[in-house]
């Protein structure tokens, strides 16, 4: 049997990779991908906990997270499209007119 901690550990690793990716990648879409990765990492935790606990709640939460992720993806990509139309660039480092 694989212990619960392993799943949680894997989830933590993925979450970390996603989190780090958000601040080292510059392409808006890649950043978004990293965020999706983080959500998935959490999903893994939830599913693992749910299964080990024998409680279906966690999995339902994952279901809802996926819906949210879909909605977020739609809106997020729309935002990215709209900024790309104006800037012709996906580099978030270029969007720094608002500062200080």
């Amino acid at each position: 049997m694989v212990p619960l901690a392993w799943y949680l550990g894997l989830s933590a690793l993925l979450f970390t990779i996603g989190a780090v990716g958000v601040f080292i990648k510059r392409n808006a879409i890649t950043i978004f991908l990293c965020i999706e990765l983080m959500l998935n990492a959490v999903n893994l935790s939830l599913v693992a906990l749910s299964s080990f606990f024998g409680d279906v709640g966690g999995q339902l939460f994952v279901f809802i997270v996926m819906t949210v992720a879909a909605a977020e993806a739609a809106v997020g990509l729309a935002i990215i499209i709209s900024i790309f139309r104006n800037r012709e660039s996906l580099n978030v480092d270029e969007a720094d007119t608002l500062k200080l």
Partner: protein
């Protein structure tokens, strides 16, 4: 056996995840993420969360990621623009931050008691936790309201995406 499987899928998940970071082209990153999602789906299966595993592939990898790839293709960034990178120092924070975050989460996970997955029930295996039946039952009882509210969420997302992404003059 299970541990080996876990190791394999975990390895794929992590490797693909890292690949997201290593790729320059967002398209490859997206494809790597699909790799991770797929291996997670496999892990879900191992966790007896069949329904989640299924929609992981269908909804996530299938629908959401396709949307991503589609948008990446749509927004074909000109190749010749110089790569602007400000705040170069951030990448040096990657290792320490990652290390710390892992250390902290692992510190917590270390304390998790070693419990076993509950054995499958003798009867009505098809109603065990993680099956479509259990999910569906819950969805329309305990989680009825969240489920209904997600529809509001999606509706709103549609409106939002439409208003932002549609062309001028529409």
């Amino acid at each position: 056996m299970e541990q080996i499987l876990f190791a394999v899928f975990a390895f794929i998940a992590i490797a693909s995840a890292l690949n997201i970071l290593l790729q320059r082209n967002p398209l490859y990153s997206a494809l790597s993420l699909i790799g991770t999602l797929a291996s997670l789906s496999a892990l879900y299966m191992m966790l007896r969360a069949q329904f989640i595993a299924a929609i992981q592939i269908i909804v996530y990898a299938g629908a959401i990621m396709v949307l991503f790839v589609f948008v990446i293709m749509l927004l074909n960034e000109p190749k010749d623009v110089p790569v602007i990178e400000k705040a170069k120092g951030l990448r040096f924070l990657a290792i320490p931050f990652a290390g710390l975050l892992i250390a902290e989460t692992f510190y917590v996970i270390r304390t998790v008691p070693d419990i076993q997955m509950p054995p499958l029930p003798a009867q009505e295996v098809e109603r065990a936790v993680g099956t479509t039946w259990s999910i569906g039952t819950s969805l329309f009882t305990d989680y009825l309201l969240p489920f209904e509210v997600t529809s509001v969420l999606i509706l709103m997302a549609v409106v939002g995406a439409m208003v932002l992404a549609r062309r001028e003059g529409d």
